[in-house]
Amino acid sequence: MSDLAPSLQDLTELAQQTMAAHGYLPGDAFISTAGKLLQRLSDPQPATFTVDPKISYEDMLQRCAHHGSA
């Protein structure tokens, strides 16, 4: 998902499907707004860095607390 730049139409359909999966079926205006939200929050730039998946976020907070540790 994060490596692609889908169209607004694709994202609007995705928003509608996602909301429908929750059982929420809003009108067209809200679906359009939700599609624009997904467009704003989509991330066409791939991540350029990684971290050991075994390091949890909580562990990283502790690790970053000290100089020389990050």
């Binding site: 998902m1 994060s2 995705l14 928003a15 509608q16 996602t18 909301m19 929750h22 059982g23 929420y24 809003p26 809200f30 707004t33 939700a34 599609g35 939200l37 997904l38 704003r40 929050l41 989509s42 991330d43 730039q45 991540a47 860095f49 990684t50 971290v51 998946p53 390091i55 949890s56 976020y57 909580e58 562990d59 990283m60 907070l61 502790q62 690790r63 970053c64 607390a65 000290h66 100089h67 990050a70």
Partner: protein, 429 residues
Amino acid sequence: MDLPDRMVELQARIRAGQITAQHALQAQIDRAEALRSQFACVVDTLTLTVPAQGPLSGIALSHKDIFDLKDWRPGCGVGHGKSQAGVQPAAAVAALAEAGATQWASLVMAPYACGATSQNPHFERCTNPLDAAAAVGGSSSGSAVAVAAEMTYAALGTDTAGSIRIPAACCGLIGLKTTHGAVSPQGCQPLAPSLDSVGILSRYAEDARQIWQALCPHLTPPQGMGVGSTSAARCQLWLPQEGLELDISQAIRDWVAQHLRVVSIDMQAEFEQLSRHAQRVLFYETARTHHAALLAGHADPAVQAIGLPGLAIPKDWYETSMAMRAAWLDQFVRRHFESADFLILPSMGCAVPDWQQVELGHPSFERRRLAAMHGWMGFVNYLGLPALNLPIARDAHQRPICVQVLARPFAEHRLLDFAAQFEMKDRTL
């Protein structure tokens, strides 16, 4: 009796035996009661309990109405609290009680902590003590008003996307958003649990430090270590090229030139990426927290504004953002805190607006001003870093101009050192 301006001075008087804890409590409560109707920030006054012995004995505090109390459920901004046998106090409230503090009242907030202003149809509009025409900010609006009005020396709030720092900025206060997880959220109504932090609003840094030490005694540096001068602090400064009013930018430049040596940076691209992740998490988790009420159609409108769009966020987007969080934190700390102690940026992009300008539905409403109040807040919650709002100047209308100061995880004491050194000595507006 005349109460001192600073909580630490009152604590010193109590310790010296110049006043009893009981007399000090009564004096604070009398003052708060006298001011109560003027600022409309109180939800409920509480049954006072016999204070424990501790450093906060004789201190009467009031907090955001989001914390469970003994046998009491909070109203969370949509009503009054309710008696309920068996409820245990929230961990943060219990920690303050163990340090001797008494809680006098619960304070108004945006409905379920959803909102960057004090707009709340369930309560009378609370008033900014600095300027009745000015916005208060939210969601910890009553906490900011009560502290600025000198109805309490300090108040707890919560911050999911700026809910401590925004009202602190509007009311000219110290506002400390703590490191994610440093203060237990147990007994505190969640909004987006991955972003929520319990924190502190106060008029003075040293008063906030007293509260912080009571909340997290295990994070207090050993005597003589870690607390001290920040005059030689290495700072990065980010003044965004977009969305920052020139007057605010110039005021920050002037303050920096007077006090600090900084390295200016541009982190716009990084900020935008982090903000996307923060919003994905905020929307998704708010929808999850209020899922049943949203689908049943009886969620508060303020909750709907965040929660309904949250139903559209795909689960894999959310999971991606959460999976990348540790890496983003690692990278951010490497970029900004290997060669600097603090990262300074504006709290808000605009001067504190009139309350009507950020009141949804008001004819004077300006969306850009509302956006400018919270735009640079949420990314900090995604990272989980501590951040402190610090008033540094006043604008032409004598409203506060503030910066956010960020530091490494668990560096709250260093942030308070910084604030103590640079806080405005004269709070009289």
